[in-house]
């Protein structure tokens, strides 16, 4: 009796692992083929059936991708834009979140709704005046133009405010009585405590900016100012049938975000689910 029960359980478990593995393969498959193809030789690509496993490691494709498009320049541009947006968002959001969580002032509730309302205005519906404005003041094709519109974040303010409010208010009162100014309280006591929330916002905003497409497409014109997402599609246009080179480029630009995903998995998931679960 017990023997057969155990056997059934083992078989059931194996079936579940099989299902899990099939599902994982399906999810990873597009990435996997991209990686395998980026390592193929030019002659291997034109043979039928398509190769599902690498035969060797043609690193030359990566060298070609870096040479034919200034891939490293694109990555540098995206890093400058994403880091800039990230730092500025951390700065503006912590200040605003502090005011909303600790400072008394009239109309706080309405102002908070004003902040939240920016999340209901899709970026696409204000993009034309923003495009015209950035062009007019000569910020097109500059880092300033890539960064400026995203310097503040309602989502980040909301996230940090929630965290600040979970810290006992007595701590603030005690610090103020001891003669600590609000600003010093924020920078020396509150922000170090809020490191998990700041980490979540940092990872989230970096990733969002790094993966941006429409705005950099509109306001960058020169090759030197293109960000990765635009640059990589340009590589595809130039190298139409050299897919091993194009995919080497695709894999290269994905590496930073994949590393970010593996290293900061927890923060990223917390950021993505924060808006959803807190309602």
């Amino acid at each position: 009796m017990i023997e057969s029960y155990r056997l059934r359980q083992t078989i059931g478990k194996m079936l579940l692992y099989l299902l899990l593995t099939v599902a994982a393969i399906v999810m990873i498959f597009p990435l996997y083929t991209g990686l395998v193809t980026s390592l193929l030789g030019a002659d291997e690509l034109s043979t039928y059936p398509p190769k599902l496993f690498p035969s060797g490691f043609h690193w030359q494709n990566y060298v070609d991708a870096a040479r034919q498009a200034p891939l490293l320049r694109f990555i540098l541009n995206s890093f400058i834009q994403s880091t800039g947006v990230m730092i500025l968002q951390l700065f503006t959001a912590s200040l605003a979140a502090f005011a909303f969580a600790y400072l008394p002032f009239k109309g706080k509730h309405i102002l908070f709704l004003v902040f939240l309302s920016t999340m209901m205005i899709p970026w696409e519906s204000t993009i034309i005046p923003n495009y015209l404005f950035v062009q007019k003041i000569g910020w097109d094709d500059t880092y300033l133009g890539l960064i400026a519109p995203f310097m503040a974040t309602a989502f980040g303010t909301f996230l940090l405010r929630q965290f600040f409010m979970s810290i006992p208010k007595d701590l603030h009162d005690a610090a103020i009585i001891d003669g600590c100014s609000n600003f010093r309280y924020l920078t020396t006591i509150l922000l170090p405590l809020a490191r998990p929330a700041l980490g979540t916002l940092a990872v989230y905003s970096f990733l969002q900016t790094y993966n941006q497409y429409l705005w950099p497409l509109l306001i960058t014109n020169s090759t030197e100012m293109r960000t990765v997402q635009i640059g990589i599609t340009m590589l595809q246009v130039f190298e139409r049938e050299q897919w091993q080179v194009v995919l080497a480029g695709v894999v290269t630009v994905m590496i930073p975000t994949l590393i970010l995903f593996v290293v900061a998995n927890r923060q990223l998931i917390r950021g993505l689910t924060a808006g959803a679960l807190k309602g």
Binding site: M27, A96, K106, P122, I127, I177, V246, L258, N265, L268
Partner: protein, 306 residues
């Protein structure tokens, strides 16, 4: 403490205090407020004005035209087409993402050794951009060297002319989107499933319920709020779709993948019709706003029921 000071609340003192509190808070709020004013609120108003004016090729307003652009949109076949294409896109992506992520999150919720590795594999796409996903699929769809048609040939399907046939193009654009959003959706549903107390399942097991019955009668009802949230988010995202279309098809063949944002992009970026494009952008704003309000309404309800 500052609050114990004013025992006699004369109107002027109260006003003074309100002002002082404001001056106190302003330095903290000003950076965000300035950015929102310059890049969100002012442009929104500017969009409304722009949609009522004729413009020259560099976007300066020339003459007042009233509601002419809205009237033109009402009659425009290509605008109707873009709305229809977007709705179809919603019909592809919403069920696609929901079904796949329900399966994946149910699997990821199993208590097995090494499950965290599978969870990472399922969530991986949250770090991938629309542009790179589109390029990966562009290769998979390739008529000669693409892997997808080759694999489908084993089950006697195809070859499918993914991006060149109006019948398949929108579907082909939707697949990378489904793939990308499944990562996020699975993470979200899994979080919802993990929030369900074990007691429910234990009680069901005692009552003789099998896995399937527990899933249907406990898991599914309790994650309905998350499912609804996803439904709205995927719909919102579908209305804002641009990247995959721009990379894979450029709106073609014969406008079969011309979604609303791509239509806006074509109107102002290529045709220089800033006013006309602004009118479209405002209609998009109204659609998104309505959907967001519906979402908040339902979330509100969910709080009441719990």
């Amino acid at each position: 403490m500052a609050t114990s000071v004013s025992l006699q609340n004369t109107p002027s003192k109260r006003r003074w205090r309100t002002l002082r509190e404001w001056l106190n808070a302003l330095p903290y709020l000003a950076p965000s407020l300035i950015v929102f004013t310059v890049f969100v609120f002012y442009p929104l108003i500017r969009s409304v004005i722009l949609s009522l004016y004729g413009t020259n090729p560099i976007g300066q307003m020339t003459n007042f035209v009233g509601l002419k652009y809205y009237q033109r949109l009402w009659e425009s076949e290509s605008y109707h087409n873009s709305l229809l294409v977007t709705l179809k896109f919603v019909l592809y992506t919403v069920p696609g993402v929901l079904i796949v992520s329900l399966i994946l999150s149910t699997l990821a919720n199993l208590r097995l050794k090494g499950i965290s590795i599978y969870r990472i594999a399922f969530a991986l796409t949250i770090s991938i951009s629309g542009a790179t996903a589109a390029l990966l699929f562009m290769f998979l769809y390739h008529p000669i060297i693409g892997t997808l048609n080759y694999l489908l040939s084993f089950i006697n399907i195809g070859p499918i002319p993914w991006l060149i046939d109006t019948k398949y193009a929108l579907f082909a654009v939707a697949i990378p989107r489904i793939w990308l959003q499944t990562g996020f959706a699975t993470v979200l549903l899994l979080a919802g499933m993990q929030g369900i107390s074990d007691e429910y399942y234990e009680a069901a097991t005692i009552d003789g319920a099998g896995f399937w019955q527990s899933w249907r009668n406990i898991t599914l009802p309790l994650i309905t709020p998350s499912l609804f949230f996803l439904l709205v988010v995927i719909t919102l995202n579908a209305f804002q779709t641009f990247t995959e279309v721009n990379v894979l098809t450029g709106g073609g063949p014969i406008d079969s993948t011309q979604v609303v944002v791509h239509e806006i992009y074509r109107s102002f970026y290529f045709n220089g019709q800033y006013g006309y494009a602004s009118a479209q952008a405002l209609i998009l704003f109204v659609i998104i706003l309505s959907l967001t309000i519906v979402q908040f309404g339902v979330l509100e309800k969910r709080v009441h029921y719990e």
